[in-house]
Subunit: 162 residues, 2 copies
Protein backbone atom coordinates (compact mmCIF):
# COMPACT_ATOMS: atom_id res chain seq x y z
CA UNK A 1 0.00 0.00 0.00
CA UNK A 2 1.36 3.29 0.91
CA UNK A 3 4.63 2.71 2.34
CA UNK A 4 7.39 4.98 1.52
CA UNK A 5 10.86 4.56 2.68
CA UNK A 6 11.27 7.16 5.22
CA UNK A 7 14.56 8.56 5.87
CA UNK A 8 15.73 8.62 9.33
CA UNK A 9 18.31 11.05 10.19
CA UNK A 10 19.10 10.66 13.72
CA UNK A 11 21.55 13.36 14.06
CA UNK A 12 23.84 13.65 16.94
CA UNK A 13 24.35 10.02 16.99
CA UNK A 14 26.99 10.01 19.54
CA UNK A 15 27.16 13.47 20.57
CA UNK A 16 28.10 13.94 24.04
CA UNK A 17 24.90 14.96 25.55
CA UNK A 18 21.37 15.64 24.94
CA UNK A 19 19.57 14.56 21.93
CA UNK A 20 18.09 17.18 19.85
CA UNK A 21 16.46 14.95 17.44
CA UNK A 22 15.27 17.44 15.05
CA UNK A 23 13.91 14.86 12.86
CA UNK A 24 12.46 16.36 9.84
CA UNK A 25 10.38 13.52 8.86
CA UNK A 26 9.42 14.90 5.57
CA UNK A 27 6.50 12.70 5.15
CA UNK A 28 5.35 12.37 1.66
CA UNK A 29 1.92 13.48 2.60
CA UNK A 30 3.24 16.70 3.81
CA UNK A 31 2.59 19.23 1.23
CA UNK A 32 2.69 22.94 1.57
CA UNK A 33 6.17 22.86 2.72
CA UNK A 34 6.69 25.68 5.03
CA UNK A 35 9.77 24.16 6.43
CA UNK A 36 8.38 22.96 9.61
CA UNK A 37 11.15 22.32 11.95
CA UNK A 38 9.59 20.01 14.33
CA UNK A 39 11.27 19.18 17.46
CA UNK A 40 10.35 16.85 20.12
CA UNK A 41 11.92 17.33 23.39
CA UNK A 42 14.22 14.69 24.63
CA UNK A 43 13.08 13.07 27.69
CA UNK A 44 15.56 12.19 30.22
CA UNK A 45 15.00 8.76 31.36
CA UNK A 46 15.43 8.08 34.94
CA UNK A 47 17.71 5.22 34.80
CA UNK A 48 17.80 4.67 38.44
CA UNK A 49 17.44 6.73 41.48
CA UNK A 50 20.82 8.00 42.18
CA UNK A 51 21.24 7.45 45.82
CA UNK A 52 18.89 4.63 46.31
CA UNK A 53 20.15 1.19 46.72
CA UNK A 54 17.47 -1.11 45.55
CA UNK A 55 19.42 -3.94 44.31
CA UNK A 56 16.83 -6.50 43.51
CA UNK A 57 13.27 -5.35 43.57
CA UNK A 58 10.57 -7.85 42.93
CA UNK A 59 11.12 -10.19 40.12
CA UNK A 60 8.95 -8.11 37.92
CA UNK A 61 11.46 -6.11 36.06
CA UNK A 62 10.72 -5.33 32.54
CA UNK A 63 11.10 -1.70 31.97
CA UNK A 64 14.66 -1.75 32.95
CA UNK A 65 16.29 -0.18 30.03
CA UNK A 66 14.90 1.60 27.10
CA UNK A 67 17.86 2.33 25.02
CA UNK A 68 16.96 5.44 23.30
CA UNK A 69 20.00 5.12 21.19
CA UNK A 70 19.34 1.59 20.31
CA UNK A 71 18.76 0.87 16.73
CA UNK A 72 15.92 -1.38 17.52
CA UNK A 73 14.27 1.24 19.56
CA UNK A 74 14.31 3.70 16.74
CA UNK A 75 13.04 1.08 14.45
CA UNK A 76 10.19 0.26 16.68
CA UNK A 77 9.32 3.89 17.14
CA UNK A 78 9.27 4.45 13.47
CA UNK A 79 6.99 1.55 12.91
CA UNK A 80 4.68 2.72 15.58
CA UNK A 81 4.62 6.17 14.19
CA UNK A 82 3.59 4.75 10.91
CA UNK A 83 0.89 2.70 12.51
CA UNK A 84 -0.35 5.68 14.38
CA UNK A 85 -0.55 7.71 11.27
CA UNK A 86 -2.44 5.02 9.51
CA UNK A 87 -4.84 4.54 12.32
CA UNK A 88 -5.58 8.20 12.58
CA UNK A 89 -6.11 8.49 8.90
CA UNK A 90 -8.59 5.68 9.00
CA UNK A 91 -10.35 7.14 11.95
CA UNK A 92 -10.71 10.44 10.26
CA UNK A 93 -11.99 8.89 7.12
CA UNK A 94 -14.50 6.89 9.02
CA UNK A 95 -15.85 9.99 10.66
CA UNK A 96 -16.13 11.59 7.30
CA UNK A 97 -17.98 8.64 5.92
CA UNK A 98 -20.36 8.71 8.80
CA UNK A 99 -21.11 12.31 8.17
CA UNK A 100 -21.79 11.59 4.57
CA UNK A 101 -24.03 8.79 5.54
CA UNK A 102 -26.05 11.18 7.61
CA UNK A 103 -26.52 13.37 4.62
CA UNK A 104 -27.61 10.53 2.43
CA UNK A 105 -30.03 9.27 4.99
CA UNK A 106 -31.50 12.67 5.44
CA UNK A 107 -32.03 12.96 1.74
CA UNK A 108 -33.70 9.64 1.49
CA UNK A 109 -35.81 10.52 4.44
CA UNK A 110 -37.14 13.53 2.68
CA UNK A 111 -37.87 11.49 -0.36
CA UNK A 112 -39.79 8.97 1.64
CA UNK A 113 -41.77 11.58 3.40
CA UNK A 114 -42.72 13.17 0.16
CA UNK A 115 -43.90 9.87 -1.09
CA UNK A 116 -45.93 9.33 2.01
CA UNK A 117 -47.54 12.65 1.54
CA UNK A 118 -48.44 11.82 -1.97
CA UNK A 119 -49.86 8.47 -1.12
CA UNK A 120 -51.84 9.94 1.69
CA UNK A 121 -53.33 12.45 -0.59
CA UNK A 122 -54.27 9.88 -3.13
CA UNK A 123 -55.81 7.77 -0.50
CA UNK A 124 -57.77 10.61 0.88
CA UNK A 125 -59.13 11.49 -2.48
CA UNK A 126 -60.17 8.00 -3.17
CA UNK A 127 -61.86 7.71 0.14
CA UNK A 128 -63.79 10.87 -0.42
CA UNK A 129 -64.84 9.57 -3.71
CA UNK A 130 -66.15 6.47 -2.16
CA UNK A 131 -68.02 8.33 0.43
CA UNK A 132 -69.60 10.51 -2.10
CA UNK A 133 -70.55 7.59 -4.16
CA UNK A 134 -72.01 5.89 -1.18
CA UNK A 135 -74.13 8.89 -0.51
CA UNK A 136 -75.32 8.95 -4.00
CA UNK A 137 -76.24 5.36 -3.76
CA UNK A 138 -78.05 5.94 -0.57
CA UNK A 139 -79.97 8.85 -1.93
CA UNK A 140 -81.37 7.15 -4.94
CA UNK A 141 -80.12 4.62 -7.29
CA UNK A 142 -77.57 5.89 -9.68
CA UNK A 143 -77.34 9.47 -10.69
CA UNK A 144 -74.38 9.49 -12.92
CA UNK A 145 -71.51 7.26 -12.20
CA UNK A 146 -69.23 8.69 -14.79
CA UNK A 147 -69.47 12.22 -13.54
CA UNK A 148 -68.82 11.12 -10.04
CA UNK A 149 -66.01 8.99 -11.05
CA UNK A 150 -63.91 11.18 -13.18
CA UNK A 151 -63.83 14.74 -12.08
CA UNK A 152 -60.35 15.25 -13.25
CA UNK A 153 -57.27 13.33 -12.63
CA UNK A 154 -57.92 11.93 -9.27
CA UNK A 155 -56.16 8.85 -10.10
CA UNK A 156 -53.08 10.46 -11.31
CA UNK A 157 -50.16 8.62 -10.03
CA UNK A 158 -47.62 11.16 -10.77
CA UNK A 159 -44.80 9.37 -9.29
CA UNK A 160 -41.89 11.41 -10.23
CA UNK A 161 -38.83 9.99 -8.72
CA UNK A 162 -36.45 12.44 -7.23
Amino acid sequence: MSKQPQQKLTSTDQNGVSVIQSQAHSSAANSAGATAGLQQVPQLVAVSPGGGGKATPPSKMKKTLLDKDSEEYRQRRERNNLAVKKSRMRSKQKAQDTQQRVNELKEENERLEAKIKLLSKELSVLKDLFLEHAHNLADNVQPASAATVAPGDLCNTNNNSQ
Copy 2:
Protein backbone atom coordinates in the same frame (compact mmCIF):
# COMPACT_ATOMS: atom_id res chain seq x y z
CA MET B 1 -14.85 33.04 26.47
CA SER B 2 -14.81 30.05 28.61
CA LYS B 3 -18.11 28.50 28.95
CA GLN B 4 -17.16 25.26 30.39
CA PRO B 5 -16.49 24.63 33.99
CA GLN B 6 -12.93 24.05 34.57
CA GLN B 7 -12.17 20.58 35.27
CA LYS B 8 -10.06 19.54 38.10
CA LEU B 9 -6.65 20.85 37.65
CA THR B 10 -4.85 18.16 39.42
CA SER B 11 -2.72 16.53 36.90
CA THR B 12 -3.77 13.10 37.94
CA ASP B 13 -0.47 11.59 37.65
CA GLN B 14 -1.10 8.04 36.90
CA ASN B 15 1.51 6.93 34.57
CA GLY B 16 4.08 9.53 34.10
CA VAL B 17 6.97 7.43 34.90
CA SER B 18 9.55 7.68 32.32
CA VAL B 19 9.96 11.33 32.32
CA ILE B 20 11.51 13.16 35.06
CA GLN B 21 12.13 16.74 35.10
CA SER B 22 15.39 18.25 35.66
CA GLN B 23 14.19 21.62 36.39
CA ALA B 24 16.91 24.00 37.08
CA HIS B 25 14.84 26.67 38.52
CA SER B 26 12.54 26.01 41.27
CA SER B 27 9.59 28.00 40.31
CA ALA B 28 7.63 29.93 42.72
CA ALA B 29 4.57 28.54 44.27
CA ASN B 30 2.98 26.29 41.80
CA SER B 31 -0.60 26.84 42.39
CA ALA B 32 -2.97 24.14 41.59
CA GLY B 33 -1.36 21.09 40.67
CA ALA B 34 2.34 21.09 40.20
CA THR B 35 2.15 19.62 36.82
CA ALA B 36 4.98 17.37 36.22
CA GLY B 37 6.43 16.27 33.01
CA LEU B 38 8.93 18.83 32.16
CA GLN B 39 11.93 18.13 30.18
CA GLN B 40 15.07 19.89 29.77
CA VAL B 41 16.04 20.82 26.38
CA PRO B 42 19.23 22.33 25.32
CA GLN B 43 18.25 25.85 25.01
CA LEU B 44 20.31 27.94 22.86
CA VAL B 45 19.83 31.30 24.23
CA ALA B 46 19.96 33.37 21.17
CA VAL B 47 18.96 36.68 22.34
CA SER B 48 19.22 39.45 19.96
CA PRO B 49 22.83 40.08 19.29
CA GLY B 50 24.40 43.39 19.52
CA GLY B 51 23.37 43.97 22.98
CA GLY B 52 21.44 46.82 24.11
CA GLY B 53 18.93 48.11 21.71
CA LYS B 54 15.98 46.24 20.49
CA ALA B 55 16.42 46.87 16.84
CA THR B 56 14.87 43.69 15.75
CA PRO B 57 15.83 43.16 12.20
CA PRO B 58 12.96 42.90 9.80
CA SER B 59 14.09 39.47 8.87
CA LYS B 60 12.33 36.35 9.85
CA MET B 61 13.80 36.04 13.22
CA LYS B 62 11.16 35.07 15.63
CA LYS B 63 12.62 32.30 17.59
CA THR B 64 14.33 34.70 19.80
CA LEU B 65 12.52 33.87 22.91
CA LEU B 66 11.66 30.38 23.83
CA ASP B 67 12.74 30.16 27.34
CA LYS B 68 11.55 26.87 28.50
CA ASP B 69 12.17 27.83 32.03
CA SER B 70 10.02 30.81 31.82
CA GLU B 71 7.03 30.87 33.96
CA GLU B 72 5.02 32.28 31.15
CA TYR B 73 6.03 29.48 28.90
CA ARG B 74 4.80 26.87 31.26
CA GLN B 75 1.65 28.81 31.72
CA ARG B 76 1.07 28.99 28.03
CA ARG B 77 1.75 25.35 27.62
CA GLU B 78 -0.68 24.44 30.28
CA ARG B 79 -3.36 26.56 28.79
CA ASN B 80 -2.79 25.06 25.43
CA ASN B 81 -2.88 21.59 26.83
CA LEU B 82 -6.20 22.35 28.35
CA ALA B 83 -7.48 23.75 25.13
CA VAL B 84 -6.28 20.73 23.27
CA LYS B 85 -8.00 18.45 25.65
CA LYS B 86 -11.19 20.36 25.34
CA SER B 87 -11.06 20.44 21.62
CA ARG B 88 -10.44 16.77 21.38
CA MET B 89 -13.22 16.02 23.73
CA ARG B 90 -15.59 18.03 21.67
CA SER B 91 -14.44 16.45 18.50
CA LYS B 92 -14.98 13.03 19.89
CA GLN B 93 -18.38 13.89 21.16
CA LYS B 94 -19.36 15.29 17.84
CA ALA B 95 -18.36 12.12 16.10
CA GLN B 96 -20.36 10.17 18.56
CA ASP B 97 -23.37 12.35 18.02
CA THR B 98 -23.06 11.92 14.32
CA GLN B 99 -23.00 8.20 14.70
CA GLN B 100 -26.08 8.30 16.82
CA ARG B 101 -27.75 10.47 14.29
CA VAL B 102 -27.11 7.84 11.70
CA ASN B 103 -28.82 5.29 13.84
CA GLU B 104 -31.80 7.47 14.43
CA LEU B 105 -32.13 8.29 10.80
CA LYS B 106 -31.93 4.67 9.87
CA GLU B 107 -34.65 3.86 12.29
CA GLU B 108 -36.89 6.56 11.02
CA ASN B 109 -36.19 5.44 7.54
CA GLU B 110 -37.48 2.02 8.30
CA ARG B 111 -40.53 3.48 9.89
CA LEU B 112 -41.25 5.57 6.87
CA GLU B 113 -40.83 2.71 4.52
CA ALA B 114 -43.18 0.62 6.53
CA LYS B 115 -45.71 3.36 6.37
CA ILE B 116 -45.30 3.62 2.66
CA LYS B 117 -45.88 -0.01 2.32
CA LEU B 118 -49.02 0.22 4.33
CA LEU B 119 -50.37 3.15 2.43
CA SER B 120 -49.62 1.48 -0.83
CA LYS B 121 -51.51 -1.54 0.21
CA GLU B 122 -54.48 0.45 1.31
CA LEU B 123 -54.49 2.33 -1.89
CA SER B 124 -54.33 -0.80 -3.88
CA VAL B 125 -57.23 -2.28 -2.03
CA LEU B 126 -59.31 0.77 -2.50
CA LYS B 127 -58.60 0.85 -6.16
CA ASP B 128 -59.55 -2.72 -6.57
CA LEU B 129 -62.79 -1.99 -4.84
CA PHE B 130 -63.28 0.89 -7.12
CA LEU B 131 -62.73 -1.21 -10.16
CA GLU B 132 -65.05 -3.84 -8.97
CA HIS B 133 -67.74 -1.34 -8.39
CA ALA B 134 -67.23 0.12 -11.77
CA HIS B 135 -67.67 -3.29 -13.29
CA ASN B 136 -70.81 -3.78 -11.43
CA LEU B 137 -72.11 -0.55 -12.70
CA ALA B 138 -71.13 -1.36 -16.18
CA ASP B 139 -72.85 -4.68 -16.05
CA ASN B 140 -76.04 -3.42 -14.62
CA VAL B 141 -76.70 -0.04 -15.97
CA GLN B 142 -75.04 2.03 -18.58
CA PRO B 143 -72.15 0.62 -20.45
CA ALA B 144 -71.06 3.98 -21.74
CA SER B 145 -70.08 5.53 -18.50
CA ALA B 146 -68.61 2.35 -17.23
CA ALA B 147 -66.45 2.05 -20.27
CA THR B 148 -65.21 5.53 -19.79
CA VAL B 149 -64.41 4.85 -16.26
CA ALA B 150 -62.75 1.55 -16.41
CA PRO B 151 -60.84 0.73 -19.53
CA GLY B 152 -58.61 -1.59 -17.72
CA ASP B 153 -56.49 -0.46 -14.90
CA LEU B 154 -56.98 3.20 -15.15
CA CYS B 155 -55.81 3.97 -11.75
CA ASN B 156 -52.70 1.95 -11.73
CA THR B 157 -50.60 3.28 -9.00
CA ASN B 158 -47.35 1.88 -10.00
CA ASN B 159 -45.75 2.55 -6.74
CA ASN B 160 -42.27 1.45 -7.05
CA SER B 161 -40.54 1.29 -3.79
CA GLN B 162 -37.01 2.07 -4.39
